[in-house]
């Protein structure tokens, strides 16, 4: 993992002092709420329906056990004993007092964390594959580049007041587990014909009101030029992105209005004119950063022992969990464990302080002290020996963290919705809870199914790329849900299509059940939901959904 050096430590201390002074000026009346708002937003502090919400950056979703314990400490000391992991691989606390926020930031600084730019119209947390460094299908670990981007984009003087927020995702693997194509800039590590590793650069993806998949602006950029190329894109966006309409201000709208070819011309012209040397990444700088992310110990652990094999035989729950919640690891005898924060009936992504402590302890004992946060709002232990899986499973089970539903119907992504958020039209959490409870009994029969719920058009729950997407809309003060089908966030990314008129909140479970029934009836072979949907189209689903009404 990356560790702060004296520069980083000093910078974070300066930032905490600056923010403490901003809060002091606000409380003393020197700053109006309007003037204070962008300052607090630059530190991830939102004013929500009932209290302040503090969103803390978890750079590219990587946490140490010490950091996770400190998040538990924050939950206990300044919140109500739990936190909520988000689709940006961050964590947010929903019951925060303004005057206590400087102390929270100081507590974060103790463990090399911060809340910088977790909101506001600037760079947000750079995200990546939660299996980075452990995945078998990886060209290279993307995290050194994420950290280089994180540092370069931190309090960038030119790009702190962009037309709108800006999200970058990096993937180093063949399978896209980072939803790269729904980002403002997406980066895929690629090997060119000469065998050199660099990046394919995509631009202009995003969800929200106008969902668009990013397009390739450059097939290959050498590592050395990564930052200068990104800076060229940002300079074009900062000058020409729309600022007159909140809903047309993301870079995707600029790319759509110029067309990708002209956008490319503008960026290439800027990139050619700019000073490359100042931003160049020499090999030694990349090598130095890569040292923080050493490859896992290549010595294979014993593949099985009596305990593992016996547990598979005798504990059907363990076997199901291994099947659903573990993934193959680069090193033989190891596994990547996903810890589901989606027990049916509970709030997706919520985690109590006690659970955080337990996961931190397990990471220390079995997993080299490393934890990841996924954009599906789960946690990952990326370095577990297979022989330790039974012990890990039992310990997780005792803390209600062993739900075997990763990739299944009850692993629902949901935004916080109207229970917390001032923007929402609908309460997405109770819908997610009801759906998970209803679908869980037959989810193994259903197989892979991604349900994603957003409480409003801002699409924090990524509903456009759910196999089944649900969008909360307001109809004369009543909560309705618009249903989209056929979306996907993987390497074959696709946006879902609206199936028909929105349904009442209380009818959502019945509607999704009906959709699942149609899928089960029509699927052939090993077809996943999006494949069946693409083959049979909208009509069978629509007919079944609206026939009865």
């Amino acid at each position: 993992m990356y560790r702060y050096d004296s520069f980083d430590t000093r910078f974070i201390a300066e930032r905490v002092a600056q923010y403490r002074d901003q809060v002091r000026r606000r409380l003393a009346g020197q700053l109006t709420e309007e003037e204070f708002r962008p300052l607090r937003l630059m530190n991830g502090l939102y004013l929500q329906l009932h209290a302040y919400m503090l969103r803390i950056a978890i750079p590219y979703g990587t946490l140490s056990s010490r950091q996770l314990r400190q998040l538990g400490h924050i939950a206990r000391t300044w919140d109500r004993g739990f936190g909520h992991f988000t689709t940006r691989q961050n964590i947010q606390f929903h019951w925060i007092k303004l005057e206590e926020t400087p102390d929270i930031l100081a507590a974060l600084a103790e463990v090399e964390m911060h809340a910088i730019q977790t909101s506001g119209n600037s760079f947000r947390n750079t995200t990546t594959d939660p299996f980075a460094g452990a995945a078998i299908d990886e060209i290279e670990d993307p995290r050194p580049y994420c950290e280089i981007i994180r540092q370069w984009s931190t309090l960038h003087p030119e790009f702190s007041f962009l037309p709108r927020k800006f999200k970058i995702a990096v993937s180093g693997a063949a399978n896209d587990r980072a939803a790269v194509r729904v980002h403002d800039i997406g980066l895929y590590l690629r090997r060119n014909a000469a065998g050199e590793v660099g990046f394919e650069v995509l631009v202009g993806g995003g969800l929200g009101r106008t969902p668009i998949l990013a397009e390739t602006i450059r097939d290959f950029i050498p590592k050395r030029d990564l930052l200068s190329y990104i800076e060229a894109i940002l300079r074009i966006y900062n000058q020409y992105g729309r600022r007159d309409n909140l809903y047309k201000s993301r870079i995707k709208i600029l790319v759509q209005s110029l067309g990708i070819a002209r956008m490319r011309d503008e960026v290439e012209a800027e990139w050619t004119a700019m000073d490359h040397a100042a931003l160049a990444l020499p090999d030694e700088a990349i090598a130095e950063m890569a040292q923080f992310f050493p490859p896992p110990d290549p010595a294979p652990a014993p593949a099985d022992d009596d305990g593992f094999g016996a547990a598979l035989e005798t504990e059907p729950g363990f076997a199901r969990w291994v099947e659903q919640n573990t993934a193959p690891h680069k090193v033989r005898g190891h596994a990547i464990v996903t810890i589901s924060l989606k027990e049916p009936g509970l709030t997706p992504g919520d985690c109590t302080a006690e659970q955080m402590d337990l996961v931190a302890d397990l990471a220390d004992r079995y997993g080299q002290g490393e934890i990841r946060v996924t954009h599906e709002q789960n946690l990952v232990l990326p370095q577990i020996r297979r022989v330790d899986l039974p012990s890990v499973w039992r310990a997780l089970g005792a803390a209600r963290l062993a739900t075997a539903n990763v990739a299944l119907a009850s692993n629902i992504i949901a935004c916080p919705g109207l229970d917390y958020c001032g923007l929402a039209n609908a309460r997405s959490i109770p819908v997610a809870q009801r759906l998970a409870v209803a679908l869980a009994p037959r989810e193994r029969e259903i197989g892979d199914l991604q349900i994603k719920i957003s409480g409003c058009i801002n699409a924090c729950g990524h509903h456009h790329v759910g196999h089944i997407g649900l969008l909360g809309v307001d109809k004369n003060g009543e909560e309705f849900y618009q249903i989209t089908l056929g979306g996907s966030a993987d390497a074959n990314a696709a946006l879902g299509a609206i199936v028909g008129p929105a349904v009442k909140s209380e009818d959502v479970v019945h509607s999704v059940d009906t959709i699942v029934d149609v899928y089960l009836k029509l699927r052939t072979g090993g077809e996943r939901f999006p494949e069946t949907y693409r083959r049979v189209g909208n009509k069978p689903f629509k007919d079944a959904l609206y026939a009865a009404h």
Partner: protein, 171 residues
Amino acid sequence: MPLIRNERFVMDTWRHLADDEGVPDAPRLSVSYVRWIEQRNALAMLPASLGVRLPNDVSPQKLAPDLGRLGLIVLTFPRFTDGRAYSQARLLRGRLGFAGELRAEGEVLRDQLLFMRRCGFDAFTVSERAVAEDWLAAFREFDVFYQPAEDREMPVLRRRLEAARRHFTVA
């Protein structure tokens, strides 16, 4: 309104002409970009130092041929959230090599001063509160910077590399 230049409060010695105002006999005059385009040749003949107030939707490239004749360029922040002038400033300083005074006006607030200075601004038209609230302290809130910009600050990446090289040389 108070003016900060090179991190001190100073008097503004420039006359800023309205578009319909006659040209007075003054040592330093600024005009709008529109007036500059219309009266460029006549204005350039004046003995005075000249400044142009450039809107934030005009490319600084348009002033490229004139930069040697200009002692001041004023860039504007209609709202502090409208960050276009940051890019204009970097282009003027870094790309086009403008060496005169680069002044920020409009909604110029305390907590943006350091960003502006890093992008190449050296002068700031600020509100009356700036004096009483000691806005100059804002320039000293950070001394660690992660990216190259138009100031002389060495970004962290270079500082690390230099430190590593020094270490290597000594060893």
